[in-house]
Amino acid sequence: MTEIINFIGNHQEIIFFIILSVFVGVEVIGGVPTVLHTPLMSGANAIHGVVIVGAIIVMLNADPGDYLALTLGFLAVVLGTLNVVGGFVVTDRMLEMFKKK
């Protein structure tokens, strides 16, 4: 119990940050018309591709001799890029159609 309480105390900045971000996330898409739900889901899908930053950090810290880590890291960067690039491009394609009008 003490550990948990101390953990919160030691990470208070990040906990405040998380709480506020949760509310921003909810507020920011509140009142979105249904017509935009699919593009919005797709756009949000691209944004969580930010996980690629983690994959890059792993790669930068990897030992050049550790081939298993390098292979997994390489794969992680490929997958993260797919998520980001594919996500934004497909969202743009959907939204482009609304824009024509």
Binding site: S21, G25, V26, N45
Partner: protein, 473 residues
């Protein structure tokens, strides 16, 4: 350059990126600003990625440390990004718009897998730090579930796996497996184990759970599942952010986690079903036990020629597009029909139910693709009062969203779901492939209404014939 300065530059890049995510999501909530919102977020993402690759100064307890990285690793990172960009770009550009929901699902799975791999690699670097281990293991579990779940969702939308697979008492099995995976995860965090075998076993069992979680859910509910898995991946990314104390991963991840959860709930609400029903599949059970409305009159068949006459001499026609239209890829031909009727002085509008198509808003995207004027797409609340001045309603491949039982029959499983009140129009033409029930598995009273005529056949084929017939008139 000073490490402190470089570190600050990276921080600024992350701050800008985080702001673009918020602004981007906000702008995506409005049709006029949506496209720019997406591009703004994409620009912020690019900035964050560039900063992460080129600036590797970290803040430590006693100042700043610069991570030395070999050219070999750089080459690998660039190669990976080039490969990912080419595949991602080409797939996203080439895919047919009707296939888009499965593509979103696939990209979501990639993000989940990326988060899971990070967990696999970071585990051994953080054995002495419980907080970090917790973030790693949770990221690994959630990322894996999101990955395997998305793959199943992809296969289901794709038609490869179209029947829900339900093991006997799957709800109990799934709950037990979930508890098992979480307990296993807790063991990895708190027992101080170093075992790589156990780590990979945890990875495998989380993958299995993702499959079990998604496999019993029917194809029509996949949008809700994808939206949910989308917010899972956001959460996994946020755990990565917690691990590295990386604020841009945290903002991106949490924003998507919370926005995705809200979006999931909104979708469920539009279908008038609690999320628990979608996941635990109470729907099928209820429909079987409920008696359904007693049948009531006969079905009237209509020929294409008669339908063409009826449409041609109307003043106002409302088209109700549904899942069947998307499946038959009839969005272009329906636009052709609309143009033809407008040329003859018929006023044509589209009535869009919030859950029409394969995803909320999917119908709008499909119709926009075939150049239907955005202003002609009318949402449910706005079109409902107009039905009593409508001569003909043409229902194409929609069923449950026009079932009056939602208003009149309290025993119906869809009772309370908002519907398009097409029964108020003078004539209703329903195009369906067969008399099969919609995904709710219940009969539709509308089809037995004396004002309703049925036009059986594949939407694309029937509409093509209808257009040809109209052209001869």
């Amino acid at each position: 350059m000073q490490p402190e300065f470089l570190y600050s530059l990276k921080t600024i890049a992350y701050i800008i990126a985080s702001a673009t995510f918020i602004i981007g999501l906000k702008r995506m909530g409005n049709a006029k600003t949506a496209r720019s919102g997406n591009l703004i977020a994409a620009a912020g993402m690019t900035l964050a990625i560039i900063a992460s690759i080129f600036i590797h100064v970290n803040k430590t307890a006693d100042g700043y440390e610069t991570v030395e990285t070999s050219g070999f690793i750089y080459t690998l990172i660039f190669a990976a990004i080039v490969i990912g960009t080419i595949i991602g770009w080409v797939t996203a550009k080439k895919v047919q718009m009707t296939k888009m929901p499965e593509l979103v699902s696939m990209f979501n799975g990639m993000g989940g897998a990326c988060a899971a791999l990070i967990g696999l690699m970071e585990f051994h670097h953080n054995l002495d730090n419980t907080g970090a281990l917790l973030a790693i293991i949770l990221g690994l579990i959630i990322g894996s579930v999101s990955f395997s779940g998305s793959v199943i969702a992809f296969l289901k939308l794709n038609g490869t796996m179209n029947k829900p697979v339900r093991l006997p008492s799957y709800n109990i099995i799934n709950t037990l497996v979930m508890i098992g995976v979480l307990a296993f995860g807790a063991h990895m965090v708190f027992s101080g184990t170093h075992s790589t075998t156990l780590l990979y076993l945890l990875f495998a069992s989380a993958l299995v759970y993702g499959i079990l979680f998604t496999i019993p859910i029917g194809g029509a509910d996949m949008p809700v599942v994808i939206s949910l898995l989308n917010s899972f991946t956001g959460l996994a990314a946020a755990f990565g952010g917690f691990l590295y104390d990386n604020k841009v991963m945290l903002t991106g991840g949490i924003l998507v986690g919370s926005a995705g959860t809200l979006l999931t709930l909104v979708m469920c609400k539009a279908m008038n079903r609690p999320l628990s029903n979608v996941i635990f599949g109470a729907f099928g059970g209820n429909a079987a036990s409920g008696s359904g409305p007693d049948v009531k009159g006969s079905i009237k068949d209509l020929s294409v020629a008669d339908a063409a006459v009826l449409l041609n001499y109307s003043k106002k026609v409302v088209i109700v597009p549904g899942y069947g239209l998307a499946v038959a890829q009839a969005q272009h031909i329906i636009h052709e029909l609309e143009v033809l009727l407008e040329e003859r002085g018929v006023e044509v509008k589209y009535a869009i139910h919030p859950v029409a198509g394969r995803m909320p808003g999917h119908m709008n995207v499909l119709l926009a693709e075939s150049n239907v004027d955005y202003g002609k797409l009318v949402e449910m609340e706005d079109i409902n009062p107009e039905f009593d001045q409508t001569d003909v309603v043409l229902v194409v491949g929609a069923n449950d969203v026009v079932n009056p039982a939602a208003k009149t029959d309290p025993s119906s499983p869809i009772y309370g779901m908002p519907i398009l009140e097409v029964e108020n129009a003078k004539h209703i033409i329903v195009n369906k492939r067969s008399m099969n029930a919609g995904y709710a598995g219940i009969d539709n009273l509308l089809f037995y209404d004396p004002k309703t005529s049925m036009l059986f056949g594949d939407a694309k084929k029937v509409l093509t014939e209808l257009v040809a017939e109209l052209k001869t008139m």
